[in-house]
């Protein structure tokens, strides 16, 4: 598949390359005059980097990752809390999925209204030009690690609104999307299947929590 538009950068999310790992630069002492004005967050960052480098060189990082990775991964994949955010038709099915007949609570999914407490952003409808900056903000407000599910055709590619002047051609043009669920609207069962797919992806791809970079 070739698209004219640039897709979201996959490295964007994990912050790959945003922080330097150059040993000299990190271990360098702060300038002499700065000792007095050293702020606690800088100190913490410095300690963080130092610990990381020690762990890296001694091989401790591998050991710790080996143990913590499966445990943290377990928590992450069995308790994905989606954002309570509805755009269009699929939002109704998202709500219907928590109805007694489908009961998405069985899979440990609890809809949270604040983006700060969410792991999964479900884009469930067409993203219009007016909405795009807001959705981007919502995505940025969510704490790491976070995932995005494009639910339904409108969120995947614009769907029925492919020739509209105001609908963005898919959510992955501005945020990285992990799972695409086709359907118009997506059945609640298909949404659950999407979450199981996400679970599989987390188990395979998600790095351990310790010094995640």
């Amino acid at each position: 598949m070739s698209s004219k538009k640039v897709r979201g950068n996959p490295g964007l999310r994990r912050g790959v390359g945003s922080k330097t790992t150059d040993l000299d630069e990190i271990m360098e002492d702060p300038p002499a005059g700065d000792w007095l004005t050293l702020r606690s967050d800088q100190l913490l960052e410095w300690i963080d980097n130092a610990v990381y480098n020690v762990a890296e060189t001694t091989g401790m990082r591998e050991v710790v990752n080996r143990v913590t990775r499966p445990i943290f991964n377990y928590g992450q994949r069995f308790s994905p809390h989606p954002l309570h955010f509805g755009i269009m038709c699929c939002a109704i099915e998202m709500g219907q999925a928590s109805a007694p007949d489908h009961d998405i609570d069985r899979l440990g999914l609890v809809y949270r209204s604040s983006p700060r407490q969410c792991d999964v952003l479900i884009v469930n409808g067409p993203v219009c030009e007016k909405l795009r900056p807001k959705l981007k903000t919502l995505y940025e407000q969510m704490p790491e690690p976070k995932w995005v599910i494009a639910m339904g055709e409108c969120a995947i590619s614009g769907g029925p609104y492919w020739d509209s002047y105001s609908v963005v051609a898919g959510a992955d043009t501005f945020i990285p999307v992990d799972v695409y669920i086709p359907g118009c609207p997506v059945r609640p069962e298909a949404l659950m299947h999407g979450f199981l797919t996400l679970q599989k992806k987390i188990r395979e791809k998600e790095p351990g929590m310790f010094l995640r970079r």
């Binding site: 489908h102 009961d103 590619s157 029925p160 695409y180 086709p182 359907g183 118009c184 069962e189």
Partner: protein
């Protein structure tokens, strides 16, 4: 309905709790309504519009499904047919005559909205919709289903008549026709034949001779407008069924092209 005065202070919780208690005992000692999806599933009705499947033996590659798709998610892609498939095809005889490769629909499920128009407007009933809906994938390329991946084989094929659901059929404007017979080669149902034209024509070179014109068999025309698209001389156009004459040939009364 009860009026305000009837509600006492105890109705803050007594009345609502009557309902919830009842439900609690009902679903604790009975079975809750929940259908536990990964363990058990509720079958959609037979009419359910899920993922598409194409019965290749019935498909004639007319492209009506691509035409009526409001999302343009369906495209006709050229495919290589094996000899067996060629033999089994219901319209195999017509396919053999066509000059270009046979085409079959491929669907990008990243665009499809499962409206069912392709199924409804398919003149042979080759396009069907299954009840499969678990299409989630981790990348968008995985949502593109090539033509061959949607092929299904049925043991006993439904024998459906060719139906013109498009409510339109091609009409010839005789004057510009150059008799190239491209429409005949491309017609998926073989409803066009070339025959002697109504009158002789003066060509550009000055010669006068009779140019062969296409004649349409409207009983098996499906209104796919392939002939209109391939016509190099723009001598064909689509008209609603009621306007086109049943004899097959239109002469002077074509209103728009004059």
């Amino acid at each position: 309905m009860s009026e305000k005065s009837e509600l006492g202070i105890m109705d803050i919780f007594v009345n609502p709790m009557k309902v919830t208690m009842k439900q609690f005992f009902k679903s604790t000692f009975g079975k809750p309504t929940t259908v536990m999806y990964p363990l058990e599933r509720r079958d959609p009705p037979p009419t359910y519009r899920g993922m598409n499947a194409v019965i290749w033996d019935l498909c004639i590659g007319c492209g009506i499904c691509a035409e009526v798709c409001p999302n343009r998610c369906l495209k006709m892609k050229p495919v290589e047919l094996s000899d067996d498939e060629q033999d089994r095809a219901w319209y195999g005889s017509h396919l053999a005559k066509r000059k270009h490769k046979p085409e079959r629909p491929a669907i990008n499920f990243g665009h499809c909205m499962f409206c069912g128009f392709c199924e409804d407007y398919c003149p042979t009933g080759a396009m069907t919709m299954t009840d499969f809906y678990e299409l989630a994938d981790t990348n968008r390329e995985g949502l593109i289903y090539p033509a061959r991946s949607m092929k299904v084989d049925l043991e006993d094929l439904p024998q459906l008549p060719l139906t013109n659901y498009m409510m339109e059929s091609p009409v010839l404007d005789v004057d510009p026709c150059i008799g190239c017979s491209k429409c005949v080669d491309n017609c998926p149902t073989n409803c066009i034949i070339m025959d002697v034209g109504p009158q002789d024509k003066t060509l550009k070179s000055g010669k006068v001779r009779n140019v062969e014109n296409p004649y349409f068999d409207y009983t098996i025309c499906i209104g796919c407008s392939t002939c209109v698209k391939v016509c190099p001389a723009d001598c064909l156009h689509m008209e609603p069924i009621s306007n086109s004459s049943s004899s097959g040939l239109t002469t002077e009364e074509s209103p728009t092209e004059a």
